[in-house]
Subunit: 255 residues, 2 copies
Amino acid sequence: MASLRSLSIWFFFFFVFVFLINPSISIRTSFIKLPGSDGSRYCDSWRLAAETNNVGTWDLIPSICVDSVAEYLNGDQFLSDYSVIVDYALAFAKSVEISGDGKDVWIFDIDETLLTNIDYYKAHGYGSEPYDDNKFSEWVEQGTAPAFDASLRLYNALKKLGFTIILLTGRDEHQRTSTETNLRDAGYSGWERLLLRGPNDQGKSATNYKSEQRSKLIEEGFKIRGNSGDQWSDLQGFAVADRSFKVPNPMYYIP
Amino acid sequence: MASLRSLSIWFFFFFVFVFLINPSISIRTSFIKLPGSDGSRYCDSWRLAAETNNVGTWDLIPSICVDSVAEYLNGDQFLSDYSVIVDYALAFAKSVEISGDGKDVWIFDIDETLLTNIDYYKAHGYGSEPYDDNKFSEWVEQGTAPAFDASLRLYNALKKLGFTIILLTGRDEHQRTSTETNLRDAGYSGWERLLLRGPNDQGKSATNYKSEQRSKLIEEGFKIRGNSGDQWSDLQGFAVADRSFKVPNPMYYIP
């Protein structure tokens, strides 16, 4: 009996050691969440992998990263990341010799590039819930998406420099009015064209659809100097711009 | 005299307030460095901009980011970033149908991809000092660069899956022996070819040189399934792989 009792005491102290003292035991992380703990470290790595197009085609954000993505999107780092990219875009734009014939084009995507749909995705798990076309269309019809300050700054500076602004979006032709109203309310004006998906563009990948639209612009004599988008499919494919600028979007992937 | 004394006391307390109490005064930051302060926020944004190829051609890392880049490279986040990318590369590799004729190729760059030159760059400001060809050649001749654990894991897994491994590097032909010795000492073996810059490749951009080499492989009947590199010039251009994987390198940019 005595040895059984001393064994119990030994086990008690063993478990005290294992769960409370040994920092490598994961149960501790549920009590104290340090910055840079495994979860946030993984999610930061995942975001970098997504932004550098290393993830390939992906559907939903990892479920363990919802808090991390929300924190990023609602914090200052996201705005800083945006702003630094805009500074590089602007530095490049200033190096372009504008011909003055109105043919020097800068292309902008709209969603998550000129306008932020953060208020919509806040209510839909920041990209952790499957995309709902009907619900997103309702949101687009509301036309209340705000501008990114940094994008508005770039947009207005490019106009001043003499660039022709062309908007190329995956939104549908029937969303033209609500899109135009939203853009104007958010502070954008003076674009040359707003290109939306027509009946013949349905079912095409964004990469193909956008490359085709850029090809047509080049055939018309436009020179595509710059291109800003939150998706690699805004920027890659054929008929690409002289310089492309990828702004961050850790919420969804469009092929 | 009395008013001068009270003025002195007033000034004393004013400076106490200004330098010790008011948190917006920059002198405080030399005492307490908070995570997410302006400097590290900018440097995190700069790293993301560089990794997403938004910076374009760049020469040296921003001087204010030396500490931040050093901290990143010597910390666990860099290893985590590497490891997550390798996991995606491996998931893709497992989805490839290997033909069994030895023609399914995975291309690896060497510097900052298979081998890390961190010990060299530690002594050269982590990319904040101009590149010195002679000094770097001396380092290459030493042949002591360690492997990235994650890359060794990917490399060995790809061999097991039946991929043919081809190494394509910007190193020169005369560095073949030291490169082979270094790779073997670091744990790599069983590559099909080690392609180095020959006399005809001097002066070519990395993008062109590597694209040409990939083209020749395709002409020989190889199918380039995957490609791992730390530079966009390892991965882009023509004759690109089915999937390309960009591992992080915030120290230098090769066009």
